[in-house]
Symmetry: C3
Subunit: 331 residues, 3 copies
Amino acid sequence: MITRSRFPRRAIIVVSALLAAVTGSVTTHAQVPQADGPRPEVCDDPTNSLSLFAENMGGGRIGYGRVPGKASVPGPTLTMNEGECLQVTLVNDSDKRLSMHAHGVAYTPSSDGTPTNAGCVAPGRAKTYVFEAPAPSTRPDGTVDPGSAGYWHYHDHCMGTTHGTGGIRKGLYGALIVRRAGDPLPDRKPIVLVMNNISFNNKTAPHTPLPQVNQGERIEFVVIGHGELMHTFHLHAHRWVDNRTGLAATVRDTDRIIDNRTVGPADSFGFQIIAGEHVGPGAWMYHCHVQGHSDLGMEGLFIVRTPGGELTRETKAAIRRYKNQHEGGHP
Amino acid sequence: MITRSRFPRRAIIVVSALLAAVTGSVTTHAQVPQADGPRPEVCDDPTNSLSLFAENMGGGRIGYGRVPGKASVPGPTLTMNEGECLQVTLVNDSDKRLSMHAHGVAYTPSSDGTPTNAGCVAPGRAKTYVFEAPAPSTRPDGTVDPGSAGYWHYHDHCMGTTHGTGGIRKGLYGALIVRRAGDPLPDRKPIVLVMNNISFNNKTAPHTPLPQVNQGERIEFVVIGHGELMHTFHLHAHRWVDNRTGLAATVRDTDRIIDNRTVGPADSFGFQIIAGEHVGPGAWMYHCHVQGHSDLGMEGLFIVRTPGGELTRETKAAIRRYKNQHEGGHP
Amino acid sequence: MITRSRFPRRAIIVVSALLAAVTGSVTTHAQVPQADGPRPEVCDDPTNSLSLFAENMGGGRIGYGRVPGKASVPGPTLTMNEGECLQVTLVNDSDKRLSMHAHGVAYTPSSDGTPTNAGCVAPGRAKTYVFEAPAPSTRPDGTVDPGSAGYWHYHDHCMGTTHGTGGIRKGLYGALIVRRAGDPLPDRKPIVLVMNNISFNNKTAPHTPLPQVNQGERIEFVVIGHGELMHTFHLHAHRWVDNRTGLAATVRDTDRIIDNRTVGPADSFGFQIIAGEHVGPGAWMYHCHVQGHSDLGMEGLFIVRTPGGELTRETKAAIRRYKNQHEGGHP
């Protein structure tokens, strides 16, 4: 007896979706259903609502965007806090059926985003997915519900095959961050790097991201795997902890400190670092450490400016060399 | 000076092995040897003993079973508690030499189950392997012996090659769970999923397991890798902790919460979840998230019924769609 | 304004490098520069300095060594303590440009060892790399700098491609261990096993390492991945904890206990075990658990003698069988 939303007319879809995109929220007054399952298909108030528009981007790519005409690969980074519920209205402006399947959060079958659970969206139609981010709690039997904080992601699960292989290949994926109360917040928006087949974000060097930040800023990376291949993610000159946040809990932490990590399809992790900590400004490579993958252009630069926001001469020279390496010259 | 058991006659083997299978235990009065090594090849009393029968199953499969004629892929799930010793008498009813090599537990060379340590069993013969599950303890130097609790496994190490490549390919593998005092017990027997080449348990959809459980039950998964390929295991709508038990120790646990994990050959892990927690009943996919693997049928359904044990209409419809997807129709 | 060292003449290079090799240390009186970055390119006193000589080894291999004519694959194991700074003068006695890129430690762009940061060394030239191993500390904002303790590694990043694919393939890699105050020390020098394509240390059985140790000794393994392929490392009859040190912190530790681990290119981990604990002397296999890799010879033996240093009859027989398996006979 789950409440199902129907969007019979395209005009209504776009207006309400745009409204949500502008206001960042829509008020819902849904009946809490007497469900077989424990959760309705709409969030209780208060709620966060937003829209995603899936559309062709040219060059064989299909992406998600927050407003029509602005799709990107990866799609927008979605952020939740544990305890929150999020409604996402997906508008399919492409010419193929597709969906949104989220990792890490809770959802009823209707929001699973799979053909098996009838969660695909036909071209020209829309569908609202509801995601809940449970907070940790102690169960009546004394065991612990771990919550859902993490560096997660969402992706198509319908296009091409029942697993969305066609959609993922074309770029239908994005990051979903669930934060726990007390988690430090980064100083800039997260750097999302998706290792999809032999690419970052469906691009190879010199077209991969070259994020620029200032020395001393708290920077957050989210790394996601997709596709057919295993990868290892390596960042030069920085290190982090191999746990939920990438941050050590204490100076006596026993978790492994790493600067390289295996990333299989749909694996995801994130971490925060202080840009240039111990090392200063520079053009620091990130790359897949599978040698053949990096040699094919699965690499980029994490550019750390001075604390005042300037590029050092040394950094400018490194950027120049990097670009020359990818202009057909001898590496 | 390790005591070696000899089984000269087939009849004696089967009688004693069946006896162990029926009683679940055999009494041993072995001399504790004055060994080069610290452990005898028989367990001290009290002991657990059981038999495994390896046999051809048809369809190119070979499996282990607790009684003749009942081999399965995977083989029986073996369970120990830290501090215990287990004797397994392996009877080879197949036509090729094979063995049992266990992960995670302690054994002398004679129970290593490899050609190198002369641990194979010829067709028509039997051999007793002895496995000890050490409990954690503090060593005299102050460091900690970690114990052996974990979601482990056992497999052939003799058939086809010195690494048992032929036996593993055909299905000679199973789960071995070592529990620590205080570990929560599941409400049902564990769901064992072995990612062996592009299959679960040497099967592809729609023939992969479709376990049915009730919402609210504590369910235990054991995931094991085998063969030649890397995989990632993903379960829909549930999440667990990436540690020894899959359970958070406290609500402030810092371990990573996951719903997807890389699984290489002979990697193994397990976790317990509350079926349908936060999400209710449903047909929840589990699959390898390497896209090409799932598209080739490396997937199945974890079916959560209502707390009263009923399948919802929605769940029945999902199961129907899943089966249709694998009947040659358009996915 | 980082101080750059120039080595214009080969003779000076070799003399000073050899001096460092012999004394284990060179005194530096560098000016602390007013740098864009926070760290000079020389260590402050007191400092550790050493030299590495890269050279052709025959058989298509190129290795690093502590003195000329003594290169090895892997190169020398370098060890630091958190809080220390290390200067390595790399002398290129090969006929191709190459470098040294370190994982886990801090360095300025000049010591990155990449073409992008102009860190390669031409044939016949030398370059000093400076590596700092930060200790954990609490930052002014209350978060924790995790430090740099770990089982890391170094490798070429210049030969063949901008990622050093040619150098790594030929053997230009080694272990770099950073210890934390209080970490237990092993009783012997670490056993370093690099899973580079389908080899350990560029060798296959029966030419892979066969380390011999005595039962009861504290033995340290360092396992490093390289090249193009994913592997899983398995050691028979022993287990360790999947954390920074491989050691459980307490008898109630919740980290996963393992005896098999996925290793991707540039992943690295280490652990300490008590040789033969619970199992006694024996010839214990270590191998990649990707079946096809082990069958191609990606395996070796960890040989545990009696506490008094003797090989048991059983162990000798196992070594004999192992060697026979690799002499073209039936496995």
